[in-house]
């Protein structure tokens, strides 16, 4: 018993902002110096895009409790909207296109969030599938969206922020990192605001929330809008900074599931969780392929890799749901507390 108060008193050693600031300083100052182009292209860029999508989905699913399987659709909407704004509106800076793309994704999110006013849980999840199929269909069907390109695949524009061109892997990394950092900070502010607490209240007990006067319908639609905005911008990063091409097929149902897995594994209702989950999802296949190649040699081809990846990932999700429903974040916090405790007793 006596150990418990000691544990609690020792936990907040540093102010909350220290770790994020150090991480950002590292990401801006150190990583570009030591990173290889492989690190940026294959790991950091998809990690940043998926993390941001995870942050967005976490606002909707983790905080507001509305399950969505349409994340990739909102990414696609963002990517194509940004492409078209950039293409068709003269003189609009890239950052303006990206912002407007987020607004478009938010509007689509509100439309497909309307069923949430009536539906819950699995039923809502199925209705968000409509977004997934509809958006992908519309983008394929109407070639206007891809500027009548024959293949439906279009090249992303050059990246620049206020006239400052960001070319090459490192430039695109700075571009993605900046957007992700700003939006993550705003998302953090949001979830610790009154609106954020309303989201949690609607998730935890909708009837009680309504009775005490929380505008439940407005709160749900706002969650869809904000979440879709962030996921839409994540789609822009995915297409413009990571893949450098924009095509509907890249935003299929698999991607939606991937983002859902990210927040389940990382930790629901946690901003950090999205980053933990995305890190695992991105690094894990690479690690698995290295390990498989090392242990099994040529037998371990891409087909086997793909299959074993799905099996292990599925097993991981089941394990997390059973053993640690709060995700990697909870695991991390526990380990850190143990270490702190051990460090203090020695």
């Amino acid at each position: 018993m006596a150990a418990i108060p000691a544990e609690f008193s020792s936990a907040p050693v540093l102010p909350k902002w220290v770790v994020p600031v150090l991480l950002l300083a590292f990401a801006y100052g150190v990583v570009p110096l030591i990173g290889s182009s492989y690190l940026f292209e294959a790991i950091l860029l998809p990690f940043l895009a998926l993390s941001l999508a995870g942050v967005g989905l976490n606002i909707l699913t983790g905080y507001a409790g509305q399950v969505s399987l349409g994340s990739a659709a909102f990414m696609a909407a963002g990517a194509f909207a940004a492409y078209n704004f950039n293409l068709r509106v003269e003189g609009l800076p890239l950052i303006g296109s990206i912002f407007l793309a987020g607004i478009v994704a938010a509007a689509i999110g509100i439309v497909f969030g309307l069923p949430s006013l009536r539906l819950r849980g699995f039923y809502l999840a199925v209705s968000t599938l409509a977004a997934q199929f509809f958006v992908q269909w519309a983008l394929t069907k109407f070639s206007w969206f891809s500027n009548d390109s024959a293949s439906g695949v279009i090249d992303a524009p050059r990246l620049s922020i206020s006239g400052f061109a960001l070319d090459g892997a490192v430039g695109r990394y700075f571009f993605a990192l900046t957007i992700v950092a700003v939006l993550t900070f705003l998302a953090h502010r949001l979830v610790s605001s009154q609106t954020g607490r309303n989201l949690i209240a609607v998730r935890d007990n909708e009837t009680a929330a309504r009775i005490i006067g929380i505008p439940v319908l407005k709160t749900k639609l706002l969650a869809f809008a904000i979440s879709s905005f962030i996921i839409g911008v994540a789609g822009v990063i995915w297409a413009f900074a990571y893949l450098r091409t924009v095509e509907p097929a890249g935003f299929n149902l698999d991607r939606s599931f991937q983002i859902l897995f990210i927040i389940i594994i990382g930790g629901l209702a946690s901003i950090r969780g999205a980053f933990f989950g995305a890190a695992l999802i991105v690094v894990f296949p690479l690690a698995l392929s290295r390990l498989g190649g090392f242990l099994l040699g040529d037998v371990f081809d891409s087909g086997v890799l793909d299959m074993s990846q799905r099996i292990v990932l599925g097993a991981l999700i089941i394990l997390f749901l059973i053993l640690e429903p709060d995700g990697l974040v909870a695991l991390w916090d526990r380990i850190r507390r143990r270490l702190l405790l051990a460090w203090q007793t020695t």
Binding site: L117, L190, S193, R203, E206, I212, G213
Partner: protein, 316 residues
């Protein structure tokens, strides 16, 4: 889950409060004259107009009658208990008053305004707060934030202002935290202020729910079995808190309770329900001696059986 979900969804769609007797009768009219010539048996009350008046409330689920022709009139500042055996319709009545259910017949008068269904979304603004029979706290929020959530209906700032920390959002937050802290002190919950609500023991969670309802300083407080599942100690503590809340905020209290003993000491008047009908509505002493109440509550039984049942109860 699915069932309750869809039921709630339906309720959202139903039209709120197309007032049946829509003329919005002023309180003075409502108290005296039942102008419509309704055969309503509300005793003419001398003194203040009733804060809450139910007239001819009927509610059934499928073929099951939950409430039949219920009249109830609660005066300002009163503590009114509603008791009755399981399934007597007590919780249904609270749900009707708070607008969770729409009654098939009758209407609900709040501050002299009649509603066919009380608009749940505006309930807090109407000065009505309630607790739930099964805990309905927001488990993922701290105790403090749960209580502060009771003031959510007052929030005027929008999310953008809150994210950027501009406008009235800071002021609102400071104000609601202050008031939440005051209520936490008042209900002796300051020690658990920063704990997650879901991690508290049951009795404390019940008290946090009371705090969340009280923080808005409602004129009418509906308590759905506030002492269910508590130990004798916790019950008397809770009863003291309810009384203190009434005295401090001049709140009118309507409470449902199983424990007749606690109710007798706490309430000014007691209404007794049985099979959805009101069979008594009087002071605790009168109710205690009412043969119909005794029948309903203990069942019509020979003296021996009643005795042994009582003993069995005492043994629990």
């Amino acid at each position: 889950m699915a069932l309750s979900g869809s039921a709630l969804g339906l309720m959202e769609a139903s039209v709120y409060a197309p007032e049946v007797f829509a003329r919005g009768l002023p309180a003075s009219l409502l108290s005296g004259e039942q102008a419509e010539g309704r055969a309503v048996s509300v005793e003419p009350v001398a003194g203040p107009a009733p804060l809450l008046s139910l007239q001819g409330i009927g509610l059934s689920f499928g073929g099951v009658v939950a409430l039949a022709d219920i009249d109830l009139s609660v005066n300002p500042g009163e503590i009114r208990a509603i008791i009755g055996p399981n399934g007597a319709g007590k919780s249904s009545l609270i749900n009707v008053i708070s607008g969770v259910y729409r009654p098939d017949r009758g209407h609900i008068g709040l501050h002299g305004i009649g509603y066919a269904q009380v608009p749940t979304q505006r309930l807090a603004r109407l000065g009505v707060a309630r607790t739930f029979q099964n805990l309905a706290l927001f488990k993922g929020l701290s105790v403090l934030d749960n209580v502060a959530a009771g003031l959510a209906y007052k929030v005027r700032s929008n999310f953008a202002g809150q994210v950027l920390g501009i406008g009235r959002s800071r002021e609102e937050r400071r104000d609601s935290l202050n008031r939440a802290d005051q209520i936490l002190d008042f209900l002796d919950l300051a020690a658990v202020r920063d704990r997650l609500a879901g991690t508290l023991p049951y009795g404390l969670q019940k008290r946090v729910e009371l705090a969340r309802a009280l923080v808005a300083e409602p004129r009418l407080l509906l308590l759905d079995e506030p002492m269910a599942g508590m130990t004798a100690n916790e019950k008397s503590e809770m009863a003291a808190f309810v009384r203190a809340a009434r005295d401090r905020f001049a709140t009118t209290v309507v409470l449902i309770e199983h424990d007749v003993g606690v109710v007798m000491g706490l309430s000014d008047r007691i209404a007794v329900l049985d099979y959805g009908r009101k069979i008594a509505d009087a002071t605790p002493d009168e109710v205690r001696n009412d043969p119909r109440v005794i029948d309903a509550y203990l069942g019509v039984a020979s003296d021996n059986e009643a005795l042994s049942r009582n003993e069995g109860r005492a043994g629990i």
